[in-house]
């Protein structure tokens, strides 16, 4: 295995859509079992960046990427890598909660397994309960497992989506502004959850809220116009930024 503690290493990553380039030569390492926050003004390439980490980026028409991304030292764009299998190790939670409306709470949690034909009846109940418990949702839904997922509140739906991602047993969890559609109370619950989950998972969270980045992450990367301006321990980045642009951004001079 890779000697360092880095789960993901990104080297010289550039990406874009057609003629438009949205990432310029980004390099950074994401430590295992830590939370890394990606911050920056809208349009800076944050979402594109994490969508490359599980190769969802390439599903968009005209999308391209160059450079290297390693997961546990293995290049994820290398020959023989199947993005489908990669995504089972690198899960993702989206901006808006997107539970499957035609499935119940139970079926939603197990969707990753049943979609991919890996669901075993004997383990299913245990997997579901574990995932819901990890997502701090078990107590709220244990009595309505067979109710349609659409009946849950927004915050519950987002935690359901987290449980759904965890049920596949990934090593990395990508979160693309997971709280932007939620109220402050629901947001706080998700943030607590992130704290708890980083004991077992490597988490990358994109956020437009610097406060959130400061609250939940160990490391923070600041992207501006597709360039990585600064990447450091969260405490240091917010208290003594090395780059003046970072300072301008975190003090609210733009963005």
């Amino acid at each position: 295995m890779d000697p360092s503690n880095d789960k993901i290493r990104v080297e010289g990553l550039s990406a874009g859509f057609g003629d438009r380039r949205v990432l310029f030569d980004v390099s950074m390492a994401l430590p295992a079992r830590r939370v890394t926050a990606i911050i920056g003004p809208s349009g800076c390439g944050k979402s594109t960046f994490i969508r490359i980490l599980n190769r969802m980026h390439e599903l968009v028409r005209g999308a391209w990427a160059s450079g290297e991304v390693h997961l546990d030292g293995v290049p994820i764009h290398g020959p023989g890598v199947d993005p489908v299998l990669l995504r089972r190790r690198v899960g993702m939670v989206f901006q808006k909660p997107n539970p499957f409306p035609h499935l119940s709470v139970r079926e939603n949690v197990l969707a990753g397994l049943s979609l991919t034909g890996r669901r075993r009846r004997s383990e299913a109940e245990a997997v579901m309960e574990r995932a819901l418990a990890q997502a701090a949702l078990w107590d709220e839904v244990r009595d309505r497992l067979d109710a349609p997922a659409g009946g849950l509140s927004g915050g519950q739906q987002q935690r359901l989506c987290i449980a759904r991602a965890l049920a596949v047993d990934p090593e990395v969890l990508l979160m693309d502004e997971p709280c932007s559609a939620l109220d402050p109370i629901a947001t706080a619950r998700i943030e607590d959850l992130i704290h708890a989950l980083c004991a077992d998972y490597t988490i990358v969270i994109v956020t437009h809220s610097m406060q959130q980045a400061a609250r939940v992450s160990h490391r923070t990367a600041f992207l501006l116009l597709g360039e990585l301006v600064e990447h450091d321990d969260t405490d240091r980045l917010f208290t003594s930024p090395r780059d003046s642009r970072t300072e301008d951004y975190i003090t609210g001079k733009f963005g």
């Binding site: 993005p83 997107n98 409306p101 969707a111 979609l115």
Partner: protein, 304 residues
Amino acid sequence: MSTALSPTGRRADRVRERLFVALSAVSVAVPLLVLALLLGDVLRTGLGRVDWAFLTSYPSRHWERAGILPALVGTLLLNATAAAMTLPVGVAAAIWLEEYAEAAAGRGGRARRTAMGWLARLVEVNIANLAGVPSILYGLLGLGLFVRTLGMGRSLLAGACTLALLVLPVVVLASREALRTVPDSLREAAWALGATRWQLVRRVVLPLALPGILTGTILAVSRAVGETAPLVVIGALVYLTFLPTSLSSPFSALPIQIYNWTSRPQAGFQTNAAGAIVVLLATLLLLNAAAILVRARLQRRSRA
């Protein structure tokens, strides 16, 4: 559009506007009145003719004794067979166009992507054009291809194949519409869970699009039920004294029977035609009701 912005204007302008709106309302009303006249006329003439004997008798030289049994059975078999053939093919084509060719899969690289994209574009344009080809030309296709070249003869199967090709563009277009109503966020959710493209289509997209697909297909088939010209060209019979026993049997169909009876000079046969029209319209009504029911039912199951 917004009435709040409409200035009051001078009096003459207002009068002119009212006149125009009245005229345009009449333009909508006239065709609808013709529809009412048509339905009223058909019902008045035909409803009294429809009884059990009419539904269960074979054609006859005497109009009082003639019935529509072979035509009705023929119509049902013909369209059920056509639907069974066109539904899977149409849905598959729609899935390919919407879920495979549109979204550029990373696997396989750029060259294949553009070749596929080009092919998909060609199919799209072709389907739009096919939807405008007069139905009688599908009849000539059926006659040349199914009846003669493939040796099916003037059979139920040849008729069903022809109707299947005729409604295929409509089924593809309706299915694509239905697939498009599934939000992309759900596709992304499935991708992120490590689903392959087919797993995503089979377990997420299809179940959600099914009500729309079925509704669209039923409506497409209800169009085929009334089709006459292609069946005339294929060689549907008007005087059939037995029921079709297999797909290679000769066949009749309701619209053909209506055409034949309408063209007879005797008023009695025209009454029969009106009776058969009542049955045909009732069939169409049932199909449309079924479409609405299917949609409501499946939607309730998938939303809630």
